[in-house]
Symmetry: C2
Subunit: 340 residues, 2 copies
Amino acid sequence: MRPEDRFVERLRRALSPREELLVGPGDDAAVVRSPAGPLVVTTDTLVENVDFLPGEDSSRLGRRAVSVSLSDLAAMGAWPDFLLLTIGFPESASEDLPLVIALAAAKRAEEFGASLAGGDLSRSTEIFLSVAVWGHPCREVIRRSGARPGDVLFLSGWPGEAAAGLAVARARAGGDRFPGSGGWTPEELAVPYETRLLAAYRDPEPRLALGRGLAREDLATAAIDVSDGLGADAARLARASGVRLVIESESLPISPALTAFAELAGRDPVEMALGGGDDYELLFTTRAGRAGRFSDPPAEWGASVQRVGRVEAGDGAFLEEAQGLRPIGDLGFDHFGEAP
Amino acid sequence: MRPEDRFVERLRRALSPREELLVGPGDDAAVVRSPAGPLVVTTDTLVENVDFLPGEDSSRLGRRAVSVSLSDLAAMGAWPDFLLLTIGFPESASEDLPLVIALAAAKRAEEFGASLAGGDLSRSTEIFLSVAVWGHPCREVIRRSGARPGDVLFLSGWPGEAAAGLAVARARAGGDRFPGSGGWTPEELAVPYETRLLAAYRDPEPRLALGRGLAREDLATAAIDVSDGLGADAARLARASGVRLVIESESLPISPALTAFAELAGRDPVEMALGGGDDYELLFTTRAGRAGRFSDPPAEWGASVQRVGRVEAGDGAFLEEAQGLRPIGDLGFDHFGEAP
């Protein structure tokens, strides 16, 4: 269990249950009772040197901070209404920095019909952005805990591309602090691949339309947004549901761009797909009888969706390869994408 | 105008108006339309070395972060329902640190019937806590903008005590970084005074019950919570209402503890009352005909309330002394309480 999951477990045990909290800490978002029906609320933070590189473009930062928070609502099958934005920034920064961040954040929110309602500014040594967002369920909320043996496991998008994009961004940033490890340089990557990987890292797309589709058609028994790497988040979904998730290696969607990067950097693309973070894609389970719905997903879902495995009785997340099953925790991922 | 006020002005001009935002950025909290009626939302952040001293007790920090955010709701005449808590903390910190903070925050919220719904953890160099809170208006929300010439100005509590408490805490922390300036030591202060000043700084009381009382009886034409110093926040209220606020020096409630501290430190207690920050008291205006209500405030308001001045036509915040009016901006406060 990762430290943040241990924290949530300990917090849940220590907090007294409150009936107005329909879903408390430990899912992608909380669900609280309000007189007009449930509100779905969540918050996410980006910290310089942890979640983004120093010198990152301010407008991209504001946009990304919003996307990352909205991704949590997407995984619940909820739609955002309002946001609050907190910006910490050093005294040495331009007075324009928070304005550029806030306007980019507001614009990103408006793409989904949501409004920036307010926020807070603070001095800090490192830049940080914290976005709190609340919205409403599109129908029933989707929990992490509903997967059952026999269900089928699906994933949107192309896992590992964001982690590769971070590696490219680090190499591009140069300097002693962020060397391209393994002797490769980003110039060796074809430009369209580099562009695609950088975009996956810098400008993730919250899968709100997909989450809404899943909720409206009651397609998902459980869902989680993939933020800490497919392997880690699969293990979370498995734990919350009390099941075993088996990811089938040969079903994993490995993009040509990731393949090219992995070859250049001497890395295993499957390992990157499982261990890289910052994907902000949806991993979800569906009843076997409904799996056919995903053979031709509607365009309005706005994302490719791929069957990547299955749900079994047991626990943990496993990778199935030709040689058999391996616990994903044993694969020794370096969480390459976690901290620059 | 302070940098954060300039930021809000620029942000307001740049954002397109959205009708679901009943009160947007620039007041103590935002008010948004929801199917069940308005929601009042706000967020506040405490950053190490800016808002609190390194080594601050974790449980006190969690409690204080909640109190500070709730103070914004108090100023709107609103009551809190739910909170989200974000904690950034260094890798070197104990794994217990966020748990202690979160439990103290949850407990503080529960004192007012509000629930900790969720949050986020992040690595960071400095500790920071960001609390987003939402609730409901007790009746009509109280804005900063409703003060009119002829109104009377009231203040709860004892301004400047928190700033003095911070100075004592800095001196107690010792070391080169936080010397007690002017050659005094906290040991020279009577223990009950020291206790009181430290408590004012470390454990502010959000004036929710007072705000509720003002809203229910429609007593306040405008209100603001005093977080950056009485002078700075009076200037904000004056600007938002398009009026002049006159604070009468001889009406300012200067506590015996502040008087004792000011004498010891060779400072002017009135200057500390106007320039010190972190009071988290309510400054509000009321129609002259209603001012009598405050001569014997109900115990359930939970705070002392004092007439401190008046509203006139014009602009700006002024201090009235025997010699006449002085613009508060000219008094050269060192914002002693702003950053350790």
